[in-house]
Symmetry: C2
Subunit: 288 residues, 2 copies
């Protein structure tokens, strides 16, 4: 994008690497850009191998490590944000072992924000099948003193990608999923007051989810967007380091996007998630 071209190659602004299996993680990048408008970002979507959500831990770890290494080795990223719930749930340790820079996932920040928001200490989490299957949110919530009930909502990602973010069919699907999870919560004696959006596609459905909740809830349920929470945590970490190292900032936001496949689709759908043009998306080959 044109912003990027304004910065010379000699700039010493450190790069924040943001990684996702696809382009949903652009919602996390959007939240980061809103908080760090003068930073430089490299975003990699491993679109050749998405969705991670239906794959095994072993495969996800292999793909995620290759992607993280591209960002640290080729793009000199000094910080990594894993803007992918599935990779955060199943491969954060593997990534942290494989690269020499600080790595932040989306699970812990989401759980911390849920703790801050909940008074009943009972929370609901909706996510992809693999994220739910990993029980990473349950574990992170438990570490925060919360009881969490998770539910896989596999139709929501394709509904977002179809562009039906304000559609009666999507509202009906959300209603069905939320009725199911709240019925299960009641059966287990939980009194949830907080709902964590545990997938980077879901922020685009937040208005519709809040509308459905407002129409159904006997008591108010607050929605936590883990993209926002992750960006908050990233900024705290970066500001701490910046204070120590006197890191330069760029005059303007710089965003370089890379994808391992389907560049057209990334360029077409990406702006909905990033909230601004994604510019030219460079195709790279991670060899697999």
């Amino acid at each position: 994008m044109s912003d990027a071209q304004s910065a010379g190659p000699a700039s010493r602004t450190p790069t924040i690497g943001v990684f996702d299996s696809g382009f949903g993680g652009l919602t996390v990048l959007r939240a980061l850009v809103a908080r760090l408008p003068q930073a430089r970002f490299a975003f990699l979507g491993d679109t050749a191998r998405l969705p991670y959500g239906s794959k095994s831990r072993r495969t996800i770890a292999r793909y995620a490590v290759q992607s993280a290494q591209f960002l640290t080795r080729e793009m000199d990223a000094e910080y990594l944000v894993i803007a992918c719930n599935t990779a955060s749930a199943l491969a954060l340790d593997a990534i942290q072992d494989a690269v020499p820079v600080p790595v932040l996932g989306v699970i812990e920040p989401g759980a911390e924000a849920a703790r801050a928001a909940s008074t009943s200490n009972d929370v609901l989490v909706i996510a992809t099948e693999a994220t739910v299957h990993s029980h990473a949110y349950s574990a992170a919530c438990q570490a925060q003193g919360l009881r969490a009930l998770e539910k896989a909502c596999p139709l929501l990602v394709p509904l977002v990608e179809e562009g039906w973010t304000d559609h009666s069919v999507t509202a009906e699907v959300i209603r069905i999923y939320l009725d199911e999870i709240r019925r299960d919560a009641a059966t287990q004696g939980l009194k949830p007051d907080t709902l964590v959006l545990g997938c980077t596609h879901y922020p685009l459905l937040r208005p519709l989810i809040e509308k459905v909740l407002a129409g159904r809830a006997s008591c108010a349920i607050r929605v936590i967007d883990s993209a926002e929470s992750t960006a908050d945590t990233a900024v705290r970490l970066l500001n701490g380091r910046a204070a120590q190292r006197n890191i330069e900032t760029s005059a303007q936001t710089e965003i370089h996007c890379f994808a391992t496949d389907s560049v057209d689709k990334f360029e077409r759908l990406g702006p909905r998630f990033l909230g601004r043009p994604v510019g030219h998306v460079e195709l790279i080959d991670l060899g697999g």
Copy 2:
């Protein structure tokens, strides 16, 4: 599965290799088994790299050739059925070049069945985004003297995998998609009387699609299931060869299933597509 174990390793029954990016192609295998109950089948679902539907031609061809070579080299398949519309649309030539056995895709048989069914010679095709983008059905229909209008229906696969094959939400989605394609057909002056199901997941929606069509159609529209058409064509080809070579048949159906990932999901959802147990699914690594 137990049927498989009854056949000794010395049996000379030729193996029919069936390949898909996932397990949707089990609907094609189901149609083959119904016609060839005494054959031996090896089915490979390249589940580590699905869905092919959102990937580029280059990537799809590379994956499909690796999968086809596994079936011919490791399983000694003497015939290959590409039970995947995306791979048939984008990689049939590459597969035919890469393996020394006859290879049949699902596109041509679907177009031939549409020609046999249609009297107006105008047909509708619903499929995944990549299949539609390839215009393989348009080309195959044109070669049959038909005019085809194609439409991508990206929500139908996840709805089938969610198990909502007889659900009001799915009926509404089908209604929306079919209304759109029929409106487009009318705009272009087409009078379609035939609808081709151009995705191996869609046969599970056939009853619901026919119900929606019956409620909307001003004139009857006949549904063509390309899984059935492909099995019919495969049987004709095989019977011709069997007559020439006096091929032995097995006493019972033998089915060996392989997947590159997510064996649990394959074993859980596969029976819905195959219409019988899939037995033990063996995990293989195609290296990427």
